[in-house]
Symmetry: D3
Subunit: 290 residues, 6 copies
Amino acid sequence: MALAADLSSKWILVSEPMPHVLHIELARNPVNAFSAEFWREYGALFDRIVSEGRDVRAAVLSSAIPKLFTAGIDLADAAKITTGGLHGEAKVDGARGSLALLRDIKDFQYAIGAPERCQFPVIVAVHGLVLGLGVDIIAACDVRYAAEGSQFSIKEVDIGLAADVGTLAYLPKITGNHSLMREMAYSAAIFSATDAERMGLISRIIPGGRTEVIAAALALAGVIAGKSPVAVSGTKRILLHSRDHSVADNLEYTAAWNAAALQTQDIPETLAAVKARRAPKFAPLRHAKL
Amino acid sequence: MALAADLSSKWILVSEPMPHVLHIELARNPVNAFSAEFWREYGALFDRIVSEGRDVRAAVLSSAIPKLFTAGIDLADAAKITTGGLHGEAKVDGARGSLALLRDIKDFQYAIGAPERCQFPVIVAVHGLVLGLGVDIIAACDVRYAAEGSQFSIKEVDIGLAADVGTLAYLPKITGNHSLMREMAYSAAIFSATDAERMGLISRIIPGGRTEVIAAALALAGVIAGKSPVAVSGTKRILLHSRDHSVADNLEYTAAWNAAALQTQDIPETLAAVKARRAPKFAPLRHAKL
Amino acid sequence: MALAADLSSKWILVSEPMPHVLHIELARNPVNAFSAEFWREYGALFDRIVSEGRDVRAAVLSSAIPKLFTAGIDLADAAKITTGGLHGEAKVDGARGSLALLRDIKDFQYAIGAPERCQFPVIVAVHGLVLGLGVDIIAACDVRYAAEGSQFSIKEVDIGLAADVGTLAYLPKITGNHSLMREMAYSAAIFSATDAERMGLISRIIPGGRTEVIAAALALAGVIAGKSPVAVSGTKRILLHSRDHSVADNLEYTAAWNAAALQTQDIPETLAAVKARRAPKFAPLRHAKL
Amino acid sequence: MALAADLSSKWILVSEPMPHVLHIELARNPVNAFSAEFWREYGALFDRIVSEGRDVRAAVLSSAIPKLFTAGIDLADAAKITTGGLHGEAKVDGARGSLALLRDIKDFQYAIGAPERCQFPVIVAVHGLVLGLGVDIIAACDVRYAAEGSQFSIKEVDIGLAADVGTLAYLPKITGNHSLMREMAYSAAIFSATDAERMGLISRIIPGGRTEVIAAALALAGVIAGKSPVAVSGTKRILLHSRDHSVADNLEYTAAWNAAALQTQDIPETLAAVKARRAPKFAPLRHAKL
Amino acid sequence: MALAADLSSKWILVSEPMPHVLHIELARNPVNAFSAEFWREYGALFDRIVSEGRDVRAAVLSSAIPKLFTAGIDLADAAKITTGGLHGEAKVDGARGSLALLRDIKDFQYAIGAPERCQFPVIVAVHGLVLGLGVDIIAACDVRYAAEGSQFSIKEVDIGLAADVGTLAYLPKITGNHSLMREMAYSAAIFSATDAERMGLISRIIPGGRTEVIAAALALAGVIAGKSPVAVSGTKRILLHSRDHSVADNLEYTAAWNAAALQTQDIPETLAAVKARRAPKFAPLRHAKL
Amino acid sequence: MALAADLSSKWILVSEPMPHVLHIELARNPVNAFSAEFWREYGALFDRIVSEGRDVRAAVLSSAIPKLFTAGIDLADAAKITTGGLHGEAKVDGARGSLALLRDIKDFQYAIGAPERCQFPVIVAVHGLVLGLGVDIIAACDVRYAAEGSQFSIKEVDIGLAADVGTLAYLPKITGNHSLMREMAYSAAIFSATDAERMGLISRIIPGGRTEVIAAALALAGVIAGKSPVAVSGTKRILLHSRDHSVADNLEYTAAWNAAALQTQDIPETLAAVKARRAPKFAPLRHAKL
């Protein structure tokens, strides 16, 4: 099946800059503000790639808006939440309103967590502002690159709420300085790419702007796309498991996983390719929900 | 209820340098050595703030002693432990002595962990030496600032014991370099603020000394105190949960939490304040044990 | 029992450069490639030290090969796996082959995890290349030092498989930048000591080469060997527990542990030694499996 | 929205015997054998009820086949699995075949676990044979009633595999005699309703046959449908959480949940109804995925 | 310290029917309805026994009201909750009201869970009705005896809420028939002592009424009080840990615990007493919070 | 390799009453008292069967002593523990003694837990007294049968200690009445086979004595030995995992496991055998540590 053809939608552009690599661009003018419709579209894209079994081996996520990655949630939507506009139930009963909200939060979490359900790594390349929901979005991706001059903010407290679709769930596990991370989460301060790197949130700062950071991310995607998809998808699945389980539990799970995965032809193929000094060729791995 | 009036006690000074912000100073001359009486006083202070429902939105913890944060546990007390002086039970029976010790360790852990039970962030500002128990104390706080020239040591092995009131429980979760952290835990080496930052233990090094680091911490506290207390306290609670649970478990918990918390008036208030270019005003949030 | 006498084996040299300290050198020419026989020998060495109760208080692991730490797994062995050469069962039945593989993976994990079962810290000092299995090996140690110019690679995807004996289980827990760590795990890229330090994988970069990094590691080992073995072994056990459990669970476990361990004579001995300005003397702690 | 209208499908009959109660009947002649198409239809039914927000407050699941509940999986499908007929990938590569199987197993688990995602209790009423997959199906329901003479078998080992869509995951948690449960899981023995009750698998044995057990289940469904849907759905969600978490974790989650749910009008309504000696009336609770 | 003297309070009678055994009787006429004041008194009693270090080795909890154990929560209090009468915060803001409720729920849970914090077993002896909160209360005790004719109901759904102070947290772990348990939790049905026993909720049905069941419980308490308090309190602590952790985690914790506890003189004392055919004598074990 | 030849040792008789079935008899006169030497022999037997890859498909464990299963631990050994006779370390230092004890407890736990590391089910057939360690031993087996008249006691508190090698770790998970179980654990009461069955500890009571219960257990072993060893060993492994993990975690693990295991020839073989109305034949499954 064609990799990117027809995957583009209302506010998301999808292209295939090189074999097995998708480039996914957020393109809702003027500031990539996420309305409910937009985040549903976002989650649905990844789930569609998975369910249709396209032979994607790496993806890059970036913004098509020149000046920023995203300003975060669309405040018009946020306002509706508290006026009960989204849920008739809220008018009936406080509890029914709360339970309706709970459903929405879970749907929202499910959409933003979609990159985790892909078997291929998702590399996010940010530039400019990465506000509020932007941090939730990048936290659910595998690898984060930032253009110099990028600015981040865990903005949610500034509109009176605790981040609930990923930032607070992921950051304590994927970064290495809780003191700095909590400082940013409590204060909603804008922080630089340098602070993001110090915190352990991003791999590296790419000199230049949007073009350069996307190029760097695509280069990494290209490297990954040249590797065995059995190996890369297994690595992703095991790393996600490891993040949430003890070492002993993870080793047990990994042993079961690799007992099957080591039967792959990708191992003799890579060994043969090394010997012959040629690039290995790998059969597609139909996409699996992780 | 007045925020700080009468909270000061034998060895702890409490003031209210700005609205909703407490400044808590450890002041047991000459070196802030922690006797059992002192750490009980320390834990009781935080628990009292919580139980009395004072409208605190951020707190700064520092030392009133010019030359250091703390030298750690009072060795006179440590000596009593091993001679059985604290527990008559030890004379009856090795096991009864052990069980009495176990009770004391749990009480000690409970006191040192008190900042976690506050709904507001606790920012610790250290200078000079931070030895032994000092590391346990700061590890249980939310944010850590260090004056340049601060020196740290996980001193416990130097008196023949493994740290048991927080350091070894928290550090593997809140820092980002286990190799460096274990090196310090096994060797009791003195390490610099620079190494503390490399390890991920502190947010940043503040140029200057005691005055400057306290000023920086109070500035952060002031920012946080201006945010919605519903949002900040929810953020703290969710981050503590996230540290100790899987991503999936945390998202489930967060959804339940926010289903209630999103009903706050702080959201429309912040949105309105932004529109009107004024500071938002938030009702007090009676203090809850987390 | 003599500390190092007769511990050396086919490809591993063991010496006792100072009291209570072992130096363990990997010495399989030309590149320390790990065949099944070699990793079994590796695991058996640590288990033997433990079971024989030698009075070791710290160990340094390094390579005796001048140009590198290890090239990783012996590809001849890896090739046998996929041709079923190791397991007759694979010819009978895909499932029986898988289950036989699973047994082997668990044995392999058990051997590489052996340093965790020692009551003393293991400090690894690397130089040159640290490829594939080399990363699994160092991840299971306590402290990691690297000579400048060291180069690392999570090489497994390059031979078509997901790392399954430690790297993916440990790295998400012991490092502080998941973005950088996953980037390396998916791409099998060579990364520098500087990147290893940024990721939080190593304590520090030691200027110089093999000689200098071993000297630095031995110096640390010497410091640790001078501390109370009750305190150091308890610290190790509690840190391993903490890595895999919640703060609350770990504090509970630690209280039970220290209720017994605080009865040690090492506490009064250290206090007395400090007073008398002499080095403390500690009785041996018969070696326990952790 | 009408409760049952048009929910019936190829092999599943759905009716609404009383307000807010669904009766779901499995009706694939001759023995309710579950092909992949049938279990997909089964899972989709529950997910559709949830997503369409129908005002269901309890459901009864039973068999429309007079002589049995189900003979389990359709062996024609099982045969295809091992010949690779379902997955072209298996011909390419053992690992790709395994990973394709893994996807199928997870889809299968998701379908059979669908009753857990409903906010209302599902009561299963069995008669005659309940073989293999039949045990997985009933284990994922809330309440199990059996007609006298019902016979059960954890049949999977008899076709050479370990049950993988629920039986082995649920039974250790929902029954009270592991010895008896494991005996049945290892031997594939047929066991009586009496043994099922002894094991703790069923609530009670209903004298009579299909008609009587369905009547008893519907009576219970009717009682439950008369209760506050906020209370019943909260009870279900909390019980599912409790099964899989520690007491402390569950109490924490429950407190967050009820902080929102206690705002329901169902509480004053029930109190008023009791006073007035009338039946309470509850607003619909739009259906939420649990 | 005298065992029972002065422990009696407004609605709770405490006596010492035999050495080291407390009898605690709930005595709030006419139906032991639990107002907030009553459950606070209940929790405080156990916490006081613990903190004062009384030499209690077993306790029996029963009702002083001839016709029933308890009718559950005081509905006057329940009504106040939903009208916001308890919390001024609810008038300010939905979220603040929810957070205030959350505090109350946690306090309530803490009080009802107090028997778990005692080092001695608490045996509850019920007769007559055990409604709503009554089930939460007995679930947090160690052993449950019921007089024939006792009747139970998980009554909460009948007032529109999910049980949140213990029943739903404990029952899935301490009983052996989830089907029957959920049936009762969803339907609020009255169930007999026979069903309670079938479910695994009670140890046994005692023929007779209040007098007989109390006598049986006291007899058991007397037996337990004759055992080593080190052994009994260790058994309780380990069983509570085991309920909430994996087998591997529990064995690890138990080993640490018993490493200290096996040093007790109670072992040689019991061995000597057996030899001499006399009753062993045990030193008091100062009471510890578990 | 011959199944049972030469497996018999000092106090354990091993025979092969039918193909692929081992009968293991405890035979230390006069009362099967477990000295350290005996429990080491016990654990070593199972580990040897596993490591030597014998084609065992089920085992029965029973006592060769006509009047009882076991009187439990050898009190001579227990006495040595508390006098420090086993560990010279205890004389040096309380902590070193405790740590030495801790090592012993872990070795003891490892030996008694050996049946869990076998890939085949272990059925225990008891008669007469099953005291103390006897309960730990049977708790670690898969299936428990008891002759009528069998009597059990969790005897440990009667010698002043908490059971630490299995009873308290397993019983809360494998039985269905915590009230009854704790009653027995606290009181050391003798309980009947009927109470053991009520508690959920045993599958069933076999009329008659030692001969009959062994015959029944062997009959079950024979049935199990006729099933696919891939299916039975997978079932055991998954059930053990399920006991200690959440439903979601277990389903994830099971999917990985079966992705490999479903490739077995045992599935077509069983389907073919059913068609041909013959017994299926299965290749040996070399023994794996679970």
